[in-house]
């Protein structure tokens, strides 16, 4: 698009600055977030209690952390539907070896290593064998969840007292999972926005072939992203185990919907190449506000399921519209 031969006359006139800044998917998320907070405050006077919101966020913090990394994966033009199953399997493995007498730090390493290995398997199948990530991760979703079921059976495995209660740890009055989420968002936001690696992720997602011809190591970048995905899923799984105090094979069941929803709601373009960490960060808060608002308003869980599904479809339609209007 910006070859040296192109003169200024050939280029389309630049859009005014206010359009560039305002008409973008993250803005939609931000506006929805403000509307959500306003509507919630009308529903109940307790809604605006910061402690309550932060406490509610700890319930979604694990999914939200995975969603941040998933954003990178989707920007790179891939998708991963297996993280929720990965969370379950790494948490089950951790609890299982721990119950078998392995010391706690080692058991944590086992859990994290398992997550990394699961990410590596996804990456090997997608990149090594060039099978589409959609179908690979559907397969591994079933496999990981099934392995967790074999390990844990229908019972729940308790985790040791010393490991329980990450959501009760407060740092400066803020629950630790929320802090971890914000830190991860900051790190990934800087990684995506300011480093060469981040720019290469966008390039791979925009045009993989062109990226390879331009000397970008597309295979390596995507492999790193799948490994990151595996690791963050394992961390999220262990955090969930710590929050719940016990582990079952159905830990995080259906979480892939919420993770994909957070990324989509934050304006990540499903076909790759566009999206920001800021968007997913805002979307995670939006989702918490929406679900908390529904709980405060006594909306039945069944309706919440409907609302989440509808939100997913509406957000992806809106994002696609915004992108098709403002770019190209």
């Amino acid at each position: 698009m910006t070859e040296t031969s192109a003169t200024a006359r050939d280029a389309a006139p630049p859009r005014p600055l206010w359009q560039v800044l305002l008409i973008r998917p993250e803005m939609m998320t931000l506006i929805l977030l403000l509307v959500g907070i306003f509507a919630g405050s009308q529903l109940s006077e307790f809604f605006l209690d910061t402690d309550y919101i932060l406490k509610s966020f700890t319930l979604s913090a694990e999914f939200a952390m995975v969603a941040l990394v998933l954003t990178l994966v989707i920007i790179a033009g891939e998708i991963d539907l297996s993280p929720a199953a990965n969370m379950a399997l790494s948490a089950c493995l951790f609890a299982w070896v721990q119950a078998a007498g392995v010391p706690l730090p080692l058991a944590v390493l086992v859990g994290l290593g398992a997550g990394l290995a699961m990410g590596a398997l996804n990456g090997a199948l997608v990149i090594g064998l060039q099978i589409p990530s959609i179908i690979v991760t559907i397969g591994t979703l079933i496999l990981y969840r099934g392995l967790a079921q074999i390990i844990a059976g229908d019972k729940s495995i308790r985790v040791p007292e010393s490991f329980v209660g990450i959501n009760d740890v407060m740092v400066a009055g803020i629950p630790l999972p929320v802090i971890l989420f914000c830190l991860l968002a900051l790190v990934l936001g800087l990684l995506l926005g300011t480093t060469i690696f981040g720019r290469q992720i966008y390039l791979v997602g925009t045009n993989e072939v062109a990226a390879r011809h331009a000397g970008v190591r597309s295979a390596r970048i995507r492999m790193i992203l799948f490994l990151m995905m595996g690791l963050v899923s394992a961390v999220a799984g262990l955090m969930t185990a710590s929050r719940l105090g016990s582990v079952r094979y159905d830990l995080g069941l259906g979480g892939e919907l919420q993770m994909v929803l957070m990324a989509m709601l934050g304006g990540t373009y499903i076909f790759g190449g566009r999206g920001t960490i800021l968007g997913t960060f805002l979307a995670a808060w939006l989702l918490v506000i929406v679900t908390t608002g529904m709980i405060v308003a006594n909306v039945l869980p069944a309706w919440q399921l409907c609302v989440l599904g509808l939100l997913l479809i509406v957000s992806i339609i809106a994002t696609n519209l915004i992108y098709s209007r403002t770019q190209r």
């Binding site: 060039q130 591994t140 696609n320």
Partner: protein, 329 residues
């Protein structure tokens, strides 16, 4: 290539050989596996998956995927069950057109979102998976339809048989497979599904109405899931808002992928998918005989999907080097 060689190299032959080897291996350990009775068990495990797999096959051949079929099954079964419960005066066979029609509408919603807004089917159907499941809870008020409400004539379809002790439900499933084969091979729109999946860019240039074909495959997938919903009520005699159809999509996708349908679109055969369904049925029937707990089933399904994907990939790499790319057939 001579006739017998091309027959040997076909995907269906490979699956058939796998079925035979698997059955012989299990039979060597547990001889009672090789009896007519266990064939009956295997066949009874398959009808729902077979019906769902026929729709899913067409969707995947057209380069999409439908994750919402389990929720469509649940919702249509629930609507039929509520008809049995709250309107017992309505003749029960009307539940068939009701469930199938509702399924087709739900499938059309998927198809419309995919074509009109140019959205990837995987995200759309992930959304409707949750939407339709939520609707099932809402209309049923999260209550199960118990056995006494399901008409015994419907339940009998899974037990009584016209010939050879084979229940009606199995005949219906194989009838659907036969119809799908005819649709895929001998109708214009059926061939267009394959053309669209083989090359989505070239298909509209050849005058194929992409919107119509896409809507059709999603509607068929939904309608067949609706039929599977009625079959569920017949087979199990109850409808539960959270369990009914949960995970159905994964079993179906497993069967379709094992049956040699390429996820890159354009390739897939009805006999292959039927054999894939049968292979899954054999595995499910063999597990309890071998004393393997039912909790392993999900992991085995997942592993089998991945192995099938890898084999599919290897076959395609070979095909490319030999320059023999088959489409459809």
């Amino acid at each position: 290539m001579t006739g017998w060689r091309s027959l040997l190299l076909r995907r269906e032959t490979g699956i058939a050989v796998m079925i035979v080897l698997f059955c012989l291996a299990v039979g060597a350990v547990k001889p009672q596996f090789l009896t007519l009775n266990s064939l009956r068990i295997i066949l009874l495990l398959t009808p729902l998956i077979l019906i769902g797999a026929m729709g899913q096959m067409l969707v995947i051949v057209a380069r999409h995927v439908d994750l919402s079929i389990g929720s469509i099954l649940g919702l249509t079964a629930m609507v039929a069950g509520m008809m049995f419960r709250y309107a017992p005066e309505v003749p029960w066979p009307l539940a068939f057109p009701l469930a199938i029609g509702l399924g087709a509408v739900l499938g059309l919603v998927n198809g419309a979102l995919v074509t009109l807004f140019r959205l990837p089917a995987i995200i759309v159907t992930l959304g409707t998976l949750s939407l339709y499941r939520g609707m099932t809870f809402i209309i049923s008020d999260a209550k199960q339809i118990d056995r006494q409400y399901v008409p015994s004539a419907l339940k009998a379809m899974s037990q009584t048989s016209p010939v050879f002790g084979i229940p009606w439900i199995i005949f219906i499933a194989f009838g659907v497979a036969l119809l799908t084969w005819w649709f895929a091979m001998h109708t214009r729109i059926g061939r267009q599904v394959f053309a669209l999946g083989s090359n989505p860019v070239a298909a509209p240039l050849r005058g194929i109405n992409v919107t119509r074909v896409t809507l059709t495959v999603f509607a068929i997938s939904g309608a067949l899931s609706g039929l599977a919903g009625i079959m569920y009520a017949s087979r199990w005699g109850f409808v539960n808002p959270s369990n009914t159809g949960n995970g159905f999509e994964f079993q179906v996708i497993a069967a379709v992928v094992i049956g040699g349908v390429s996820i890159n679109g354009g390739v897939g055969t009805v006999p292959g998918v039927v054999l894939g369904v049968l292979l899954l049925g054999c595995v499910s029937a063999a597990l309890p005989l071998l004393g393997i707990p039912g909790t392993t089933q999900s992991a085995i399904y997942g592993a089998v999907i991945l192995i099938a994907l890898v084999i599919d990939r290897m076959v395609r790499m070979q095909g490319r080097t030999r320059g023999t790319q088959r489409a459809g057939a």
